[in-house]
């Protein structure tokens, strides 16, 4: 067998049982890998009614057939679970080197179930797999635990997945890391791992990826690497990381100022990639086999946080605990907050979302210092933000309430419905730092229908509207309309979202970084199939490959449908639908914009062949995608979804 290792590991932490399961040819062909393998397991093994923190819940780690090969940026890993934040389908993927290492150790996937009596970590040394005591690691930051495990195992070169204290404390938006700084940020995978008393997974692989046609793979990989030379997005990402987007976001009005009350600020450049590179950038870091190398490493030199060092930040990491909370004057505050969310193992986006919502409740008088334990939640109050991030990570005081996410916090506090208006969530998950009134109507549509909740930019990654204008002709070639590259237009957006979602899903099955594919389309679907076939020796066609993407997307959608989440819940926070974008800077391009979601949804359903009344995939569509068992699951639920008791829109599940 080429490409895949052909087997997965199943670890039951309650019994200590460790099993090897073969992955058949048919199975691999149907799901390809990574996101596909994981989504299948979650759909089949985690019933919709199960509490995500129940020991019976699963958390899966999956890599793809080209993981660890010479193809560009093939070191990613997808982590999937039933999200404790939303109660629905949840996954997140991360770069680094662990994904490649897992493959070298001879595994395509790990399924974790059960709950250990005491804290443990999993040690995978090729075929030798054991659970080891992690009591001494409990409470440690990932950077500390990583070092301790390496010393314990006597190997500095192993790669380790870890959670931080937030995961241990089952914060509903705790994230998961590997190589200390590379995060699977969204949906609360770290909380599920923590609920199982699992601190991490250390991995050492001495094997390799068996490649069917090494010459073809090298030729293809070399050609693709050349394609990045001089590429404008590659240059931007290498020079300034994803912070290269700050000034663009500010110009085009999608820079989230004070919980999206605004979309631009005169001092945004304080935290731009350009400023970061010339003030606090220590060095650059890349993931496995990456031709872009967008990773940053930061060292703060002055002020009260002088001496702090950490990996990052990303745009989506810095913005939520900075400008979204009214912090912009001193960028060191923003870098520090990003460092804190890393250390505690928190999803920066959700942390900023929860604190931002609370700040707006405070501003609007829905809560007072009495509710917060004396914390004055005023915009830009760095002292309070610093405290609150740590309190969330430790589940202390008001932080314990916010640790359940903004929507649940509003309900726990007994706030009126109005509070949810300020939660800025869809399906219980807060939106990332991309205001749909600026970036753009395609992104907004993808947030509404994303299969992991309010999602983030990475579900569909509508780069055809974000950076399409930098590549004249690209939107015409793929979508037939160059005007689709304008963010604030409805032109071509339903097709764009459908198209990009499918592309992104297959990319996640290969566990390849989407920065190397979607941003510039320097690596296209035919290129991906070329290296997939070179590695596996199989004959995937474009149609078959893309159908896998569509299959997985519809399977994930059906998971939500089984929870009675469909067309009614396909929306974005009302602020974007109702409040015209105010002017923040003179040169802002989107003043007055509101997001016309309803104009887009109907057409999008047509592309997907989803029933407009329920938002469920049609039976015919599911059958075409070889998901007939899913069609059977959904059959009795279609009318139930339309029945009176189900009619109230739900904010989150379980």
């Amino acid at each position: 067998m080429y490409g895949w290792a052909g087997k997965r590991l199943r670890v039951n932490l309650s019994t200590g049982e460790i099993l090897t399961e073969p992955l058949s040819y048919e199975y691999r062909r149907k799901w390809i890998g990574g996101r596909g393998f994981n989504s299948d397991v979650i759909y089949n093994e985690v019933p919709p009614g199960l509490d995500p923190f129940d020991p019976e819940a699963r958390v899966c780690f999956g890599v793809g057939p080209v993981s660890g090969s010479a193809a560009p940026s093939t070191g990613r890993v997808t982590i999937t679970c039933k999200s404790p934040l939303t109660g629905g389908f949840g996954d997140s993927n991360m770069g680094g080197h662990w994904g490649a290492e897992l493959k070298y150790a001879g595994w395509d996937q790990i399924i974790i179930q059960g709950r250990a009596k005491n804290p443990v970590y999993l040690w995978i040394d090729d075929d030798n797999v054991e659970l080891r005591d992690a009591s001494h690691l409990w409470g440690k930051f990932p950077r500390e635990a990583d070092q301790m495990i390496k010393e314990e195992l006597g190997d500095e070169d192993i790669h380790i997945v870890l959670i931080g204290p937030a995961g241990e404390n089952m914060v509903r938006f705790a994230c998961t890391f590997n190589d200390v700084w590379r995060a699977a940020g969204r949906t609360g995978t770290g909380g599920v791992i923590g609920s199982k008393n699992l601190k991490g997974i250390a991995c050492r692989g001495s094997g390799t990826v068996k490649v069917a046609d090494p010459r073809a793979l090298l030729e293809c990989s070399d050609r693709l690497r050349q394609a990045f030379k001089g590429d404008i997005m590659k240059e931007g990402l290498y020079e300034h990381g994803s912070l290269c987007l700050i000034n663009v976001a500010n110009r085009d009005g999608w820079f989230p100022w004070k919980n999206f009350q605004g979309g631009a600020h005169p001092n945004a450049d304080n935290m731009s990639g350009e400023t970061h590179s010339t003030t606090v950038l220590k060095h650059r870091e890349g993931c496995y086999a990456c031709p872009i190398c967008c990773g940053r490493f930061t060292k703060i030199h002055d002020g009260k946080y002088a001496g702090e060092e950490f990996g990052g930040p990303e745009y989506e990491h810095a913005v939520p605990t900075g400008p979204r909370l009214g912090i912009i004057d001193d960028a060191n505050d923003i870098w520090h907050n990003a460092r804190l969310t890393n250390d505690y193992g928190l999803d920066g986006i959700e942390t900023g979302g929860a604190i931002g919502a609370a700040m707006e409740w405070y501003e609007k008088g829905l809560i007072t210092a009495k509710d917060t334990g004396g914390l004055e939640l005023t915009w830009g109050n760095e002292e309070v933000v610093d405290k609150l991030i740590q309190m969330i990570g430790r589940r202390e005081g008001f932080g314990d309430i916010l640790a359940d996410g903004a929507d649940r916090a509003a309900d726990k506090l007994g706030l009126p419905d109005e509070a949810h208006y300020y939660s800025i969530t869809t399906r219980g998950m807060t939106l990332p730092g991309d205001d749909p009134r600026g970036l753009g109507f395609g992104y907004g549509l993808s947030f509404a229908v994303g299969t992991r909740g309010g999602c983030d930019h990475l579900r569909s990654l509508c780069c055809l509207e974000l950076s399409g204008a930098l590549y004249p002709g690209l939107n015409t070639k793929l979508l037939g309309d160059e005007r689709a590259n304008r963010p604030v237009t409805t032109v071509g957006k339903p097709y764009m979202v459908y198209y990009e979602e499918n592309q992104k899903t297959t990319t996640d099955c290969l566990n390849v970084c989407c920065f190397t594919t979607h941003w510039s389309y320097a690596v296209t679907t035919p290129d991906q199939i070329e290296y997939l076939n070179a590695v596996t020796g199989l004959d995937f066609t474009e149609e078959e490959f893309q159908e896998v993407g569509e299959r997985i997307f519809n399977l994930e959608r059906s998971y939500w449908n089984r929870l009675m989440s469909g067309a009614r819940e396909d929306t974005v926070p009302e602020r974007f639908l109702k409040e015209p974008m105010p002017q923040g800077v003179e040169y802002q391009t989107n003043v007055g914009a509101v997001f016309p979601l309803n104009n887009l949804l109907k057409k999008y359903y047509e592309y997907r062949d989803w029933d407009p009344a329920t938002g469920f995939p049609s039976e015919k569509k599911l059958n075409v995608l070889k998901l007939d068992y899913v069609a059977k699951d959904l059959a009795p639920l279609r009318s139930k979804y339309l029945s009176e008791p189900e009619k109230k829109k739900k904010k989150y599940y379980h």
Binding site: K477, L479, P494, Y495, E542, E543, Q546, E550, K603, Y607
Partner: protein
């Protein structure tokens, strides 16, 4: 012979999002079957042009124009 009337073309040109309507139209005219409709939708606009050119529904110059200018050119070509 024109695949669509001038009035139909006008309607398509007014649409914000055209891909699925055009594909549905071509399917209704039996220019595409169900499978090809699906394949093209997944593959992207350029796959539609490739298909129509292969079927001799577009001349070389029309196909080149449609690839360069998108639906605006394609719709005009189909109506000519």
């Amino acid at each position: 012979m024109a695949v669509m009337t001038k009035a139909e073309a006008k309607k398509f040109l007014e649409l914000d999002d055209r891909m699925i309507d055009i594909l549905n139209f071509l399917k209704a005219k039996s220019i595409l079957d169900e499978e090809t409709h699906r394949k093209i939708l997944l593959g992207g606009y350029f796959r539609l042009i490739e298909y129509l050119a292969k079927k001799n529904m577009l001349k070389k110059k029309q196909a080149d124009d449609a690839l360069e200018n998108g639906f605006d050119s394609l719709i005009k070509a189909l109506a000519s």
